[in-house]
């Protein structure tokens, strides 16, 4: 077994760990996790916008640090728990998923693709509108461009997982001793 396979096997086993179950047991909790993850993304977008107006400056560095910390505190636990809830639906390679999981992944990717198209349309329109004319907003600092690209990349990367977590139905009730969620 090569390193990639070992990593995926380890990831698949980790996602079955009962430690995460209380975090995603109910649909309300899973949707709360999605909301927290989406908040983390929004904070990164907000950081890019703030940097556009105040970077480069010492204040911008402090604001970046605070906002990125808030974003990570929201993003990392919610993404970890959602990966466990969906059993790696959006992160494991297809050969490690069964046909139901692959079908659900395709649905999640379809919805996420539509959402991403809407997000990119809105962002493009807002950026073009803000840069219109010759005001200070027409000059974009490098930090804002970098944070904007990170926000786009992270949103594109995690949106299928958020969609899958939002859609996930409650698993069937246990009828076997080992059938914990």
């Amino acid at each position: 077994m090569n390193w990639g396979e070992r990593w995926h096997a380890h990831a698949a086993r980790s996602m079955e760990h009962p430690m995460f179950v209380p975090l995603y047991r109910t649909r309300a909790r899973r949707r709360l996790l999605v909301a927290v993850g989406a908040t983390g993304l929004l904070v990164i977008w907000a950081d890019a916008i703030v940097s556009w107006y105040i970077a480069p400056s010492d204040t911008a560095v402090t604001v970046n640090f605070v906002l990125l910390t808030i974003a990570l505190v929201c993003y990392l636990p919610s993404v970890t728990a959602l990966n466990a809830a969906t059993r790696g639906l959006a992160s494991l390679p297809e050969r490690r998923l069964d046909e139901r999981q692959i079908a659900e992944r395709l649905r999640a990717y379809t919805v996420a693709n539509t959402l991403m198209r809407l997000i990119l349309t809105v962002v493009t329109a807002l950026v073009l509108a803000a840069m219109w004319g010759d005001g200070p907003a027409a000059r974009v600092p490098g930090a804002a461009i970098a944070l904007g690209l990170i926000a786009v990349w992270l949103t594109h990367y995690v949106l299928p997982l958020l969609v899958a977590g939002w859609r996930l139905p409650d698993p069937p009730p246990d009828d076997d001793p080992g059938d914990e969620q």
Partner: protein
């Protein structure tokens, strides 16, 4: 297009044979939750998986799956 329901008797057959969800899932090569979703009728299997489920229980596929609800135990129809 709305998905047409496919009814099944996997839970009945599994209970009758004393097979756990995990054992059935392992035999079919699917996640054990998938067996639960199948039993609940929330997922309709591919033809390939349906045939493998029937093969596992050693019954014709129409014994396990139907487009109409199966009669309840004890009913005359």
């Amino acid at each position: 297009m709305a998905e047409e329901p496919v009814f099944n008797r996997i839970a009945v057959l599994r209970a009758d044979r004393g097979v756990s969800r995990r054992d059935l899932a392992a035999a079919l090569g699917v996640h054990y939750q998938t067996v639960g979703y199948l039993e609940r009728g929330e997922y309709s299997p591919s033809l390939h998986l349906a045939l493998r489920i029937a093969e596992f229980f050693e019954v014709p596929v129409e014994v396990v799956f139907s487009l109409k609800p199966f009669p309840k135990l004890g009913s005359t129809s």
